[in-house]
């Protein structure tokens, strides 16, 4: 029983907050356009289920495409930066500068270059999420022990063999750590782009709902983004456990 309580603590807190929220709305007669009650949000979510499904699928699609491009480009850049000091010196400062630009400020430019709708959402999701992947892959490559490098050089291993057999597997835990950060960033990117320039997606839906004071629908959007984001995060964790379980089993069972 005690164990059950420990495990469900987070759920109990979340449910209590929902109940307090619901009761406050009822007791203090808070107007719906300021703070809708959870029951009202549930009702609206069900009422607009088709629209929400359509727009959330759009957001999910642009996010995943942007995320996948970020993985490919991130790994390629990370390997380049991590395995060549010359590329590191010439590219890394530039990447850091680029990363310090708030991506939201760049979205209008992306819209000018790529139009409105799906493409800028994908591009924004990519631009905002590839940097942590680059940094982590480069760090992972640098973490290979110098002794291991010496052992391999003496064996006559080629650069490719070193990369394939030692450096890349060694980098995988770093890669997955960065993917968990990158996927949540990718959602931010696609939703921001949709709120600025799109006729589809949760971002667009929330923007148009708030302009009509359908605040309950805005909350539905927030909740759905949260659910999608958590689901993708969980998926990354699942793949991570399968691929690099060895990195997290450091104590004897």
């Amino acid at each position: 029983m005690n164990k059950f309580i420990t495990k469900s603590r987070a759920w109990i807190v979340a449910l209590s907050l929902l109940v307090i929220w619901e009761l406050s709305c009822q007791v203090f007669h808070i107007p719906e356009f300021i703070l809708p009650a959870p029951s009202r949000i549930a009702e609206v979510t069900w009422q607009f289920r088709n629209e929400l499904a359509m727009h959330s699928m759009q957001t999910l699609m642009t996010t995943i495409v942007g995320f996948l491009i970020a993985i490919v480009i991130g790994i390629l850049l990370g390997v380049a930066v991590g395995s060549s000091p010359a590329i590191y010196d010439s590219l890394y400062p530039l990447l850091v500068d680029f990363n310090s630009i708030p991506k939201v400020a760049v979205v209008p430019l992306i819209v000018i270059w790529t139009g409105i709708g799906t493409v800028p959402a994908i591009v924004t999701a990519f631009v905002i999420s590839f940097f942590p992947i680059v940094v982590n892959v480069a760090t992972g490559l640098a973490s290979v022990e110098p002794e291991m490098r010496d052992v391999l050089r003496i064996l006559g291993a080629t650069r490719y063999e070193m990369l394939r057999k030692v450096s890349l597997p060694r980098t995988l835990p770093y890669l997955f750590a960065s993917l968990k950060v990158a996927i949540t960033l990718a959602f931010i990117g696609s939703v921001v782009s949709e709120t600025i320039a799109s006729n589809y997606g949760i971002g667009f839906l929330m923007l148009s709902a708030s302009s009509r004071f359908q605040v309950a629908l805005v909350f539905s959007g927030v909740i759905i983004i949260a659910i999608m984001s958590i689901a993708m995060f969980a998926l990354c964790v699942k793949v991570e456990n399968r691929m690099v379980g060895w990195a997290y089993r450091s104590q004897p069972s």
Partner: protein
């Protein structure tokens, strides 16, 4: 203070072997302005097991990197297997204090790694994998890891990891094995077990071995010849052949010849340490 019989360079050189496996001729290495190794001259015969001892920071590890071509010498020449060393030598084996096993590979697969890289075996890993696995297994049996082939490194103790590390260093039957303080992090009992293991491996494969260590008992136990290096800049100041018969056993450590040799080396190291 200098020992009365402080050696000159000529009597440091070992008796001329016809075709030594490793020949260093007046090799020096400078890091910037700092001389790390000065005029090292030595011959190591094929199949000879050599230990290099000296105070810490005397350039023992530098010597090892030079022989394997990982570092180019500032002056002098190094020959390995009758060829001048001008880049990383191919197919030598190496083991360090840190076992550096790959954490995602089982013990067997870790020991298999050199076979996937070094020439004749590399092309057999596909069709002839069973034979290579049998080879690895017999090696693991020899070092007492026979039942641990499918374990991951984190499931092994430090001593077991170091056994696997030794197997990985010699599985491809290298002509030269370089050991850089491989047992320094182990407890005394495990350490002496591994001396035995290393001697067994050496007697089986008769590779040429260079062991860098600061443990004099270890050096005398394992080596045919012990070289003593001086404080920085490292110079080889003494050559000490070890006349103990093989195989050496734990009882050997109580042999007066053994203890005398260890004490003599200790005195020499104390002498070079006090020279500033």
């Amino acid at each position: 203070m200098l020992l009365k019989d402080a050696p000159t360079r000529s009597d440091v050189r070992s008796p001329p072997a016809d075709q030594p496996m490793v020949r260093m001729s007046e090799v020096s290495l400078k890091y910037g302005d700092m001389l790390a190794l000065g005029d090292a001259t030595l011959d190591i015969a094929e199949g000879e097991f050599v230990a290099v001892v000296g105070p810490s920071g005397c350039g023992k590890s530098t010597l090892m990197k030079l022989v394997t071509g990982l570092l180019p010498p500032t002056s002098g020449t190094i020959e390995f297997d009758r060829k001048i060393v001008d880049g990383p030598v191919r197919g030598a084996g190496m083991a360090f204090q840190n076992a550096t096993l790959l954490p995602w590979r089982t013990t067997t697969d870790n020991v298999m790694l050199p076979l996937e890289i070094v020439a004749p075996y590399k092309h057999q890993t596909g069709k002839n994998r069973a034979a290579l696995e049998a080879k690895v297994q017999s090696l693991l049996d020899l070092v007492g890891l026979g039942d641990f082939g499918d374990r991951l490194p984190w499931q092994l103790s430090g001593g077991m990891q170091q056994r696997a590390n030794l197997c990985r260093a010699i599985v491809h039957e290298p002509k030269l094995l370089m050991l850089d303080e491989p047992f320094a992090a182990l407890d005394a009992f495990t350490k002496e077990d591994l001396w035995q293991v290393l001697q067994d491996l050496w007697m089986r494969q008769r590779f040429t071995g260079i062991l860098v260590t600061h443990d004099l008992r270890e050096a005398v136990y394992l080596a045919d010849t012990v070289y003593v290096m001086s404080n920085r800049p490292g110079r080889i100041v003494h050559r000490c052949p070890i006349p103990l018969s093989r195989p050496r056993r734990p009882e050997t450590t109580f042999d007066p010849i053994y203890t005398d040799l260890v004490n003599d080396l200790r005195a020499r190291i104390a002498a070079v340490r006090s020279v500033k």
